[in-house]
Structure formats: structure tokens, C-alpha cells
Assembly symmetry: C2
């Protein structure tokens, strides 16, 4: 695109000819030629953009094949519902009932089981509730005579729509019934203004509800049977993955600082940033996971909210790693002798903290209390003790005179300013280990709660048993 444009503006362009010399490209003067070149440039630019876009899309699909599978699932569900109605014309035209089944599949199908169930249940319940209410209002309106009918209908729509919209702002309603409130307003308005007699309305309501149930059942079947993606499982994996990332970046940053090894993977060092930015996705996953039946190792009422607490603890560690990183990249570097003095204990603290986090990740993964975590925390604390002692003995290396910077090499003592970065780093490390202990607490709480729920479920399900066994497979 650029070459075409700039040619038109008369910029001199040179091309290298085969024999090695270069030739000036004389800008063409004919209008037709100008237009042709400009068009060519535009097209090639567009082609380039399209190629880039397709490459981006291809990479995305290759990196996460589950996205591709989701797309195929949507296509599958939609084709099934369309063909059923296409081949057996149960409907009368586009306005008929087929539409509701198709519409349900399109709007309700979400990538995860939890989100789909949330929408399905909300849609069915809200449609039923709004339908009954609207039939009632319709009856009242029809009793009030031709003159008042529009007022009764209008007022009821105004009031109920306003209230339902308001309820969508209330956090507890929003997290559970946001979609339901919208469907409620929709169904209520449509049914309330319909010109049908009440007996015909019941027929219509029956048909609409049955098509919606067909649509939702199909969605639920497809989403749960074809490579299901569970919100709960996703949240669980995200938490484990984030812990691993946190541990890697903590260890990597400190190691980079003290050993100056350039071998550290930059992506690994920046892993804590994923932890910083995953709050919103954790919340939505925990929200959807509540709707999921037991799957894999997770029971119906698995303590999903506890994952949010773990997430918050991880983020509070990640904030400190951010501050640690700024120490490492700060301008005024520390004296090498001080770095050496503290390096052993700092590295010990960081490696023991990071292996504690790794162990926590393992504990969440297996969903049982780790037998070694107490040991690792103890190890971390003894490393902290050592770091404390090293810090105390630091004052021996210190040069009490601030102006005697030229004496450093002679006496081996360093000016106070040069110890500040290392001391800051050490005290942030200490703070991180305090926060890791909070993280240990929240992981233990999760494990305990989940075991408790397991026991309750096991007790409740003893009489039946088989159902549970089937679900656990």
C-alpha cells in the first residue's frame, strides 16, 4: 500500500536491477496508471492484512484446539436443531416455533458447561415465570374494557421492566440471574401485548416453552457429551498454573539478581503478571462453576469461592514480586560485596518460598493436604532466620563515613547508599514469605472444606450410591 501511495506523491524510489546497478523509478504520470497503481497498492495492503489476520486466527486455533472443538460443537448443535425442523416442518414459516429452538441454541451455547447451564436454567425458569405473569396481566387487562386495556398493559410493562432492570444491578441477583432477568422482560412484554385470547395464549405458551426446552436440552447434551469444558476444572487448573508461574517468577527474579545469569527465561520471570490480571476470569469461572453437577473430582457444592480467596492471596504475593522486580531493575546498583554477603541466604529464602508455592500447587492439584508443606514452611522460616542474621551482620561491612567513597577498595567497606537496594530486596522477600504463609492457610482451608463436602456427599449418597459412582467415572 505504502509503495503505491508514495509513488503518487512523487517520492524517488530506486530498485536494484539484476546486474547490480540501481534504477530510478520514474513516477508514472497518466491518470489511469496512477489509479491502477493505487488500487494495486490498496489490494496488496488488504491482502497483507487478511493474511496477518488469518495467521493470527490459525495460531490461536493451533495453541488451543479446544476453541476449535467448541466452534464445531456450536455448528453441530445448530445443524441438528435446524435439520430436525427443516425436514419435519412442524412449524408454520419463519415466525413459527422452529425459530425459538434455533434462537435458544445460538444464545445459550457457551464455551463451558457451567455457563451453558446457567443460561439454560435461567432461560427456562424466566420464560415460565414471565409467561404466567403475563397471562395474568393479560386477563386483567381484557376484563378492564377496551378503553383501559392499553393503560393496564403499558403500566404493567413499564413497572415490571423497570424493576427487573433494576434487579440486574444488585450484585447477588446479577451473579445468579442476570440473563434470567433479561429473558423475563422479553417474554413478559411479548406475551402481554399479544392480541390473543387467554385460551390460545396457553397453547402458545406451551409451544414456546416446549421448543425452548428442546433447544436447551440439545445444548446441554452436546456441551456435556462432546469434549466438555467444565468451568470448575478450568478454575482449578488456572489456580494451579498461576501458582506455578508465581513460584517460577519469584525464584527466577532473585536468582537473576544474585547470579546475573542471563539464562533465565524472560517469559518465566514475567509469569507473575498473569496472576495480577486473572481476577476477572477467576470470578466468572467461580460463578459458572456453581451451576455444574459433580464432574471429575469435584462435587456439586465444591467450595469454589475458596478459589477466589486463594487467588486474592496469590495476587498479594504478586504485588510484592512486582516491587521486587523494580528493585532488580533500579538504577542505583548495590555493591558486589554486599550482594555476595546476602546472596546465599536470599537465594535460600527465595528457593524455599518458591518450592513451598510449588508444593501448594501440587496440594491443590491433588486436592489433599500436602504431607511436606509444614516442613517446607519450616525450612522457609529457618532460611528467613538466616537472612535476618546476615542482615544484622551487614553493619560490619558498612562504611560509617559518607564522604569516604574512595576508601572503598582500601578498606573493603561500602557506603550506606550501596546497600539500600539489597536491603530493600531482602525486606520485600521477607514480606513475600509472610504472604506465602497466608496462602498456605487459604489452600489448607480449601482442602479441608472440600474434604468435608466430600464426606457430606458420600453420606447423603450412600443409599443410592450408583448414581454417584456413574458420575465419578
Amino acid at each position: 500500500m505504502a509503495s503505491g501511495k508514495e509513488l503518487c506523491e512523487g517520492v524517488e524510489w530506486r530498485i536494484r536491477v539484476v546486474d547490480g546497478s540501481s534504477e530510478v523509478l520514474v513516477p508514472p504520470t497518466g491518470l489511469a496508471r496512477k489509479v491502477w497503481l493505487r488500487t494495486k497498492g490498496l489490494i496488496s495492503g488488504l491482502g497483507m492484512k487478511v493474511r496477518m489476520f488469518l495467521k493470527q486466527a490459525w495460531d490461536m486455533g493451533a495453541n488451543d484446539p479446544r476453541k476449535v472443538i467448541h466452534c464445531i460443537k456450536v455448528g453441530l448443535a445448530l445443524t441438528i436443531v435446524s435439520l430436525v425442523y427443516f425436514m419435519r416442518p412442524l412449524y408454520d414459516g419463519v415466525g413459527g416455533n422452529a425459530m425459538w429452538a434455533i434462537m435458544t441454541v445460538v444464545v445459550v451455547f457457551e464455551p463451558t458447561v457451567g455457563a451453558t447451564l446457567y443460561k439454560c436454567l435461567n432461560r427456562v425458569c424466566a420464560t415460565c415465570l414471565a409467561g404466567f405473569l403475563a397471562v395474568g396481566v393479560h386477563w386483567i387487562a381484557s376484563q378492564s374494557g377496551d378503553r383501559f386495556e392499553p393503560f393496564v398493559v403499558g403500566a404493567s410493562i413499564f413497572i415490571l421492566a423497570s424493576i427487573a432492570t433494576f434487579s440486574r444491578f444488585i450484585p447477588s441477583v446479577k451473579s445468579m440471574f442476570d440473563y434470567g432477568a433479561m429473558i423475563f422482560i422479553l417474554t413478559f412484554s411479548i406475551v402481554a401485548i399479544s392480541g390473543y385470547r387467554v385460551d390460545k395464549l396457553f397453547d402458545l405458551a406451551h409451544q414456546r416453552i416446549s421448543t425452548i426446552i428442546i433447544g436447551t436440552s440439545l445444548c446441554i447434551l452436546v456441551i456435556m457429551l462432546v469434549c466438555p469444558i467444565w468451568s470448575g476444572q478450568e478454575l482449578h487448573s488456572l489456580t494451579v498454573r498461576n501458582m506455578d508461574k508465581l513460584s517460577d517468577s519469584l525464584d527466577g527474579c532473585v536468582r537473576l539478581y544474585f547470579t546475573n545469569s542471563n539464562g533465565e527465561d524472560d517469559q518465566k520471570l514475567q509469569g507473575y503478571k498473569c496472576v495480577l490480571s486473572s481476577k476477572a476470569s477467576e470470578e466468572s469461572m467461580a460463578n459458572f462453576a456453581r451451576w455444574e453437577p459433580s464432574h471429575g473430582r469435584f462435587n456439586f457444592r465444591h467450595p469454589w469461592k475458596q478459589y477466589l480467596k486463594i487467588g486474592a492471596s496469590m495476587r498479594s504475593c504478586a504485588y510484592c514480586i512486582e516491587a521486587l522486580n523494580s528493585c532488580i531493575n533500579s538504577e542505583n546498583q548495590a555493591a558486589e560485596s554486599i550482594k555476595k554477603h546476602l546472596s546465599t541466604s536470599c537465594l535460600k529464602v527465595s528457593s524455599s518460598s518458591s518450592s513451598a508455592i510449588k508444593e501448594l500447587a501440587e496440594s491443590v492439584k491433588k486436592m489433599n493436604k500436602s504431607p511436606t508443606i509444614d516442613l517446607l514452611v519450616e525450612e522457609m522460616n529457618s532460611a528467613l532466620e538466616e537472612l535476618h542474621n546476615d542482615l544484622k551482620s551487614l553493619s560490619h561491612l558498612l562504611n560509617p563515613s559518607t564522604t569516604a567513597e574512595n576508601q572503598i577498595s582500601a578498606t573493603g567497606l561500602v557506603p550506606f547508599m550501596e546497600i539500600i537496594p539489597v536491603v530493600t530486596l531482602a525486606s520485600i522477600l521477607i514480606e513475600i514469605s509472610v504472604r506465602i504463609e497466608a496462602l498456605v492457610g487459604s489452600v489448607e482451608e480449601l482442602v479441608k472444606e472440600s474434604e468435608m463436602k466430600d464426606k457430606i456427599v458420600a453420606k447423603e449418597e450412600k443409599p443410592e450410591g450408583t448414581m454417584k459412582a456413574l458420575q465419578r467415572v
Copy 2:
């Protein structure tokens, strides 16, 4: 609820009678009585919950009356569109066209102008595009004979639905056309499986598109004329508010540490947490703001993305304030003499940094380069210089012997461990001021870009002029 339940389980309850003595409540034994008490308990518990819920809803409405206004707007738009169709029966029953107008209003009406415009434009464009494509596919299918028709239709639905679903995962498509992709799938499937002949399909498409246009126009009119809430304006105010909060908590934290004043408002100190958690809302607002026409002081192509950069800069400051807070709450407290030694310069740094942030907030608010910001940054830097000097001279106060902690009072020197918290705090303060300079840079960029856009718009609109003047009112 609790009292009823526990009575039934035979727990001894005592009540204080008027004369001061207490009486044991004997649990009632009759079955009817038990049921009655349990029901009463349940009802009173439920009543309590409902009261709590209503109180919460009332408080929310009182705190942000715009939410109430939004609900009234939804009710208004829906009542208008319903009554138009109710009083002039242009439709044939519920399946008719009235439904599309109502449905459009319900699903398209969002709290802000930008979000509503985004949905309206996506809905109209996607419906048109999918409608034309579906008519084409329908024609091809009808040409291919009765036997192959279902296969052609099914395959086209499968392929297009899968591709459109996949496109919703691509970030650039998701941010601009997520809703449009869904509507595309919906319209395409419905039209493609319809049993109509092509000529009748055009009628239908025309009707459907016109009802959708009626619905969207009504929404746009209501949302823009009745107390409009602009995403852009919201983003702008959020940014200014967050800067103020950042400045308040920075200054408050440092002041609290050095002066031990308990008068600091705890809510003010925690203000930086709002900055930490506003990433998601900033992004969605910036996304919707792109769709808004010029309003107030903002042109159509106001540099909204720059707000996201400012937000990121603010968050990087907030991370440091988090670390600062942990210093303040840390267990090992610093020696008073050291605190006194550094207090003046630390307070100077924090107050000059926080007034720099305040000035930046003012600059964003007025959308012009602040005349005093350079001066304030200079002041901050000179305060930093002072802090550096104070830190350097700190070594005089230091006790070189680690074991001589009992000599403190005699010599006035402090052990090394007791200076660590203050030194850490000081070096985090230094880091914060570095990050504030980055914030200054991104605010200046915003102001520059917005002025540039203003000039371009002014140039482009000189010939027309009046339109712009109208919009600016």
C-alpha cells in the same frame, strides 16, 4: 428462624421477664405446635432476608440515582414500542413483527450510550449481512433439488456457524463485533431453514430489518436524549477519580507512618485498591467509548486507548503503594530516632508526589497541559535529592556492633535491623516517584493527542461548522 428451629431441637432457652428474673422456655411437645413454630420461624427468617435485600437495593439506588434513571428509561422505551404495536395491530399475532421490535429494545438497551450504539450497529449490520447470505444459500439449495436441499442448508449452517463462533475468540473481532457475530449466526440459521420461496423471503427480510431499525432508533433516541450516560465521560471521570484516590492514599500512608496520627480516614488510605481493581471496567468503557459520537469535550476519535495506558501507569504506582502499606504494617518496627531522621524528607517526597498526581488529575480533568506540573516534578525531584542525602547520612546513626543492642540508649546509636523498615519504605517511595514520572509522560501524551485530534476535527469541520457547534452545546 434460629429460635424456632432450636426450640424444636430441645435446646433450653431463657427469656428475661419484666420483673428481672428469667424463665426457662419449655419446648412445646404437640406436633401442630412444632409445625407452627417452625413455619413461623421460617417466615420471619424469610421476611428478614427480604427486608435486608430491599434495604440493599434501596441503598444502591440512593447512592447512584443514575441506575434508577436507567431502569425508568428501559421501561419507557419498552412501553412506547409495545403500545405502538398494541394500539395499531400491524402484526399478526405474537409471531409477527412486533416481536422483533420489542426484542431489539430489550436486548440492545444498555446503561451507556456507547454500549447501546455498539449493539445497535452490530445488530443492524449483522442482520442485513446474514439475511443476504442466507437468501443466496437458500436459492442455491432450492436449485439443487429436494434430495440435496437439506444437505446444502445443513452444511452451510454448520460451516458458517463454526466460522462465526471461531471469529468471536479472536481479540480484535471480539472487541468490535462479538454481538454482531452472534446475531449473524442467529439470522442466517433462521432465514436459511425457512421454507419460504425466495420472493417471499425478500418481503420477510424487509419487514424484519425495518422492525429492527424501528427498535434500534427508538433505543438510540431514548438513550441519547434522556439523561445520557456516556462511556467516554465515565472512563474520563473514573481516571480522574482514581488519580485522586492514588494521591490521597500515598500521602495518607506515609503521613500515618511518620506522624502516627490516627485521624487518617481508613477509606482514604485504601483508595489505591480501587485503582488495582479497575482494569476490566476501564477496558470495557474504552471499548464502548469508540462507538460514541462527539459529546461534551470529547470528539468522535478521542484517544480513548491512551486512558488504558494511564490506567496501567496508575496500577504500577498502586502496586508499590501496596508494598509500602506492608512496610507500614510490618512487625519489626523501626527505631524512633531513625524515623525522626528521615521523616521530614520522606514526608516531603510523599506530599510532593501526591500533589503531582493531584495536578495530573486536574490536567486530565481540564484536558490541557498543566502549567505547574513541571515545577511539581522538579519539586519532587529535589525532595528526592534531600531524601538521598538523609539516607547517606543515616550511617552516622548506625551502631556497627550487632550485639551491642543494650548500648543504644547510652550512645544514641541504633542496631542495623531497626533501620531496615524505614530504609525499605524510603526506597519504595523513590520507586514510586520514578513511576509517577512515567504517569506524567502518559498524561502528557493523552493531552497532546487529544489536542491534535481537536485540531484535525476543527479543520475537517470548518466547511460545515454548525453540526459541530450543535454537538458541542
